[in-house]
């Protein structure tokens, strides 16, 4: 049994379209791995399969030796796997504090929920002063912070982040990525970060996986990937 996230021979088809083909990789606990690829590279599909939103046609995925497959997202959350989906995963009709509370609703240990909520608000002080506002009154960056804060209240072990930088201003992106890096260091979280914004993601990642048309093109440290001129031109966009 391997600890951490083990994905083996993963294939996912949407009808006759192959979104992920024969993908295998391994992430050790505490690692921050960026999955880089353009639109249609299958990176969002990968993350949706790991959080139980779609089922792979073939292959296996496990977290610390326990299979993730065939389980619903709400069960995987209880197993410590929390997915912050693309496009600010908050519920706009609810207030900030209600959105935060969602992350702890399923948990029995309410005193730890309170502690986790305080920790999250300390991490994102901008949210603390806006607890009673509806989430749709927040800026894009604040919504992303709220989504991450809610995920933290579930006390995740593996955090799956789908394009947290999407549609945000460069300064805000920098702040979000710094926070993600800080989270890994402070809480020892394992983070799988799916990103189109290759440079920002590789800046904070321990390792990058480059996907193209559902297949793994290359894996390596950010320095190795950035040093490869072909990869840079074809996939990294800088």
């Amino acid at each position: 049994m391997k600890v951490g996230l083990e994905v083996r021979d993963f294939s996912i088809n949407y009808g006759s379209v192959c979104a992920i083909h024969d993908l295998s990789f391994h992430i050790v606990p505490g690692e921050l791995v960026a999955v880089i690829g353009s639109n249609g590279s299958g990176k969002s599909t990968l993350i949706r399969a790991l959080s139980g939103l779609v089922s792979p046609n073939e292959g296996s995925a496990s977290w610390n030796g326990i299979s993730l497959l065939g389980k619903k997202p709400e069960e995987l959350v209880r197993q410590g796997i929390v997915h912050v989906s693309e496009g600010r995963s908050v519920i706009p009709e609810l207030t900030v504090s209600e959105n935060l509370a969602l992350g702890g609703l399923w948990r029995r240990d309410k005193s730890d929920v309170a502690i986790a909520t305080e920790e999250s608000l300390a991490l994102f002080p901008a949210l603390a002063s806006r607890l009673n506002q509806r989430a749709d009154s927040l800026s894009g960056g604040e919504r992303q912070m709220l989504a991450i804060a809610r995920a933290l209240i579930s006390r995740p072990q593996l955090l799956l982040l789908d394009e947290p930088s999407l549609g945000l201003a460069p300064l805000v992106i920098e702040q979000i990525f710094l926070t993600i890096s800080h989270l890994r260091n402070q809480f020892g979280l394992t983070v799988l970060l799916v990103e189109q914004n290759a440079l920002s993601a590789l800046k904070i990642a321990d390792r990058g996986l480059i996907l193209n048309l559902g297949e793994l093109v290359k894996t390596g440290t950010p320095a190795e990937l950035i040093a490869d001129p072909e990869l840079r031109a074809a996939y990294l966009g800088f």
């Binding site: 959080s51 939103l53 989906s85 995963s89 609810l94 209600e98 609703l105």
Partner: protein, 296 residues
């Protein structure tokens, strides 16, 4: 006379609100207009009638009828709607199939009632008087049973309001209906929560049936007109909004009451549909409907 008419309007409006609330609860979580709602409500009322006939106690039958309504709502979801929504997601009739199916279910429930109890008009009696309160020599058309209808409806609406606004269950119900996928990713067992929503809807319909029926008679179709009024009220309120359902119900009830009093009974229902048309033409999303339609 004005106060009398208003009181009667509030009494019938409260019942429309309950029926509208039942429809909204289901619509919000499953995007299905549940035409079987009147069937569920009338079956719950028959169960209340049966218990009342055996125990000779309306006050025992009422909570049991509500419980039956809740269980029935939950079963309709578990045994019928969940299977259907799982199978009929796409295709040309994907969206409409579950709605049509609820019409089928309505027929099924009403035929089942006919088989068990027959189609004759039955009397589900309440110990409260149906005769209007008397002040001096003036008897108003508002009876103790009408008062009970208003109190019971207000209590149900208040309980739902408190649950939705102030409890974890209410937060889960709202999250699951607004954004089911995000709710799931936050760890909420959306199917289970939806089922509770169906049970609440069934209970609301059962309250409506069990408190209004003592003012008239019980038959397999006796709540159909109430359902139509509840549906109009729900649409006026935006179909998505719990507050809208209550306001829509009251507007319609009071409106009907004044028309009945000052214009005549023959046009009341016509006016209901005119109000519906006008609201839909001016504000297609209803008075309390969301500006942006949500993802289903």
């Amino acid at each position: 006379m004005f106060i009398d008419t208003l009181l009667i309007g509030v009494s019938s409006g409260a019942i429309y609100s309950l029926m509208a609330l039942a429809l909204v609860l289901v619509w919000r979580s499953t995007r299905v207009v549940n035409f079987a709602q009147s069937g569920q409500a009338v079956l719950s009322t028959y169960i209340g009638y049966e218990i009342s006939a055996r125990t000779h106690n309306y006050w025992i039958s009422l909570p049991l009828a509500i419980l039956a309504g809740a269980i029935l709502g939950s079963l309709v979801d578990l045994l019928f709607m969940r299977l259907l929504l799982g199978r009929a997601k796409s295709g040309p009739i994907g969206e409409i199939a579950p709605v049509i199916a609820t019409l089928g279910l309505l027929g099924l429930i009403q035929s089942f009632i006919g088989l068990i109890w027959g189609n004759a008009f039955l009397h589900y009696a309440s110990p409260l008087s149906g005769k209007g309160f008397t002040f001096g020599s003036h008897t108003i058309p508002f009876s103790p049973q009408n008062l009970f209808i208003v109190i019971a409806s207000a209590a149900v609406l208040a309980i739902f309001g408190i649950i939705f606004k102030y409890t974890d269950l209410g937060l889960a119900l709202r999250a699951a209906s607004f954004q089911p996928e995000i709710a799931q990713l936050a760890g909420i067992r959306v199917n289970r929560i939806r089922n509770i929503g169906w049970a609440f809807a069934g209970a609301a319909g059962a309250v409506a049936g069990a408190v209004i029926t003592p003012t008239s008679t019980l038959s397999p179709n006796s709540l159909d007109l109430l359902f139509v009024s509840g549906f109009i009220a729900a649409v006026i309120g935006g179909l998505d909004s719990l507050v809208g359902a209550v306001v829509g119900g009251l507007v319609l009830g009071i409106g009907f009451s004044f028309i009945l009093q000052y214009i005549g009974g023959s046009v009341t229902f016509l006016v209901g549909f005119i109000i519906l048309m006008v609201v839909l033409l001016i504000r297609p999303r209803g008075i309390f409907g969301n500006k942006v339609s949500r993802r289903a």
